[in-house]
Assembly symmetry: C2
Homo-oligomer: 314 residues x 2
Amino acid sequence: MQSIGNLVERARAGDPRAVARLISLVEDASPALREVMAALAPYAGGTAVIGITGPPGVGKSTLAAALVRELRGRGPRVGVLAVDPSSPFSGGALLGDRVRMQEHATDRGVYIRSMATRGHLGGLAWATPQALRVLDAAGCDVVLVETVGVGQSEVEVAALADTTLVLLAPGMGDGIQAAKAGILEVGDVFVVNKADRDGADQVIRDLRGMIRLVEREPGDWRQPIVSTVAVRGDGLRELADAVDKHREWLQRSGELDRRRRRRVRDEIEAIAVTALRRRFGDLHGDARLDTLADKVLAGEFDPYAAADEIVAAL
Amino acid sequence: MQSIGNLVERARAGDPRAVARLISLVEDASPALREVMAALAPYAGGTAVIGITGPPGVGKSTLAAALVRELRGRGPRVGVLAVDPSSPFSGGALLGDRVRMQEHATDRGVYIRSMATRGHLGGLAWATPQALRVLDAAGCDVVLVETVGVGQSEVEVAALADTTLVLLAPGMGDGIQAAKAGILEVGDVFVVNKADRDGADQVIRDLRGMIRLVEREPGDWRQPIVSTVAVRGDGLRELADAVDKHREWLQRSGELDRRRRRRVRDEIEAIAVTALRRRFGDLHGDARLDTLADKVLAGEFDPYAAADEIVAAL
């Protein structure tokens, strides 16, 4: 087995197999995970993380592929992390969308990785922040994180991304329904895809109305709406321009530093809490928790009193 | 101010204002929360919790109202917890759906409560398990928990519910898209609402195909598919029958005990973890975490090493 140091060096030189191996190591939560993280730390860089989210069927994968094309035309190395749902129903990913990325499969400037969600249903794979660190250290200037666009995932992708693209399309239900989904709140740039279809104007009008309702201070970012027909590549230049503009704003306003610090704080806290939970499990095992649960079910204890017992024992 | 004991007594006698007051106390995480939980513990009962979820636009609220009507006709006291999205975008709930429940507003056998999600975006309000305890102690035989049906929420509602109804409707995108949403995995009973519309047969066929793919042991539950036109009340008797059958199976198979124990375990653990996080915050404050985050951003530390520092300090 190769040393982690050697793998990191090769990844930094642009070797896709080394990148793949490192991501696998962090994804498997292998014993080497901590060593990999420590080895990557000095190479923490300035990858621009772009999240792509939106309801099913709006064309996220097609748009991601088209955006990779546009960004590659502008020069930088691009990474793509596609987060698939790991379905207990099917025992596997249901998406065939990944194939749409295959035009980029032979481009050394593009690294594409599909992340399994490992039971964290509907959400981002837990290893995504770590995989981002790998791609960052490997010199990716931009990483697109595409989620299946359902539920909590859009909140998580917004927490990970510097710039979050929210995709909508005509015919996906009315605007207020989209608002229910909680996806409007997280958008830095709105993309109305399939803009050649009937109803696109209405989606844009609804979005404009929503954006107008947001209270802003002077200097705050005002979300632009970009129309695209991703399957034909229409509007992709405008979209890349809007992403650039948002990045300039992030840097100028200090928001980039704030977002990145918040992200790292959350990451540290999540790792610490996981470690605490594990420690609790090691100390008491499942039997203790079962006993407490049975007491709550029998009405002898309330759940807060039961939790007190656990915390006190730590 | 009334004593908690007095409020609990009145709630148990069916006084809706006492129920409302108790839920407000637990929702506000008021200092009285723990006292309320302790006072309710002896009255932990056998409320059947029915979760209703599905994508936006399938008619969840209408179906919930119709199901309340059907269940009330059969006798028991019914509670409804409707979980609204609390939108940072709008500063409030976007749903007007609650009005559909108003026909039940004057029925003393029905208690309806809309829960705010308090920043837990897309998910169940954190106070929902506690509110369920209030309704349980207040003698509700059945509580419907209706979510906005987006994202992680359907996973959470399944974790809370004894029986989860997953609603679909024709014209909401094709079957595979629904599967992406991860909502099929959590269904105990599938409901094809708006069954009078074109495409309902196709939805049913797709569901049947999916259900066939699931591996089952003898004695496992096989999810039924019920067609409804909730707005006219069609199919509601069949739906209530299917819910009853599922409940019988839950009891017969021992799965009800297993689900309830798992639920209480999760609840205790979540409360304990929250307490630990708070303790960490008390010990170190935000400044310490900021310092660690800055070191990670500067490449001096990796997030695991930073988390070690936190855990070691506890």
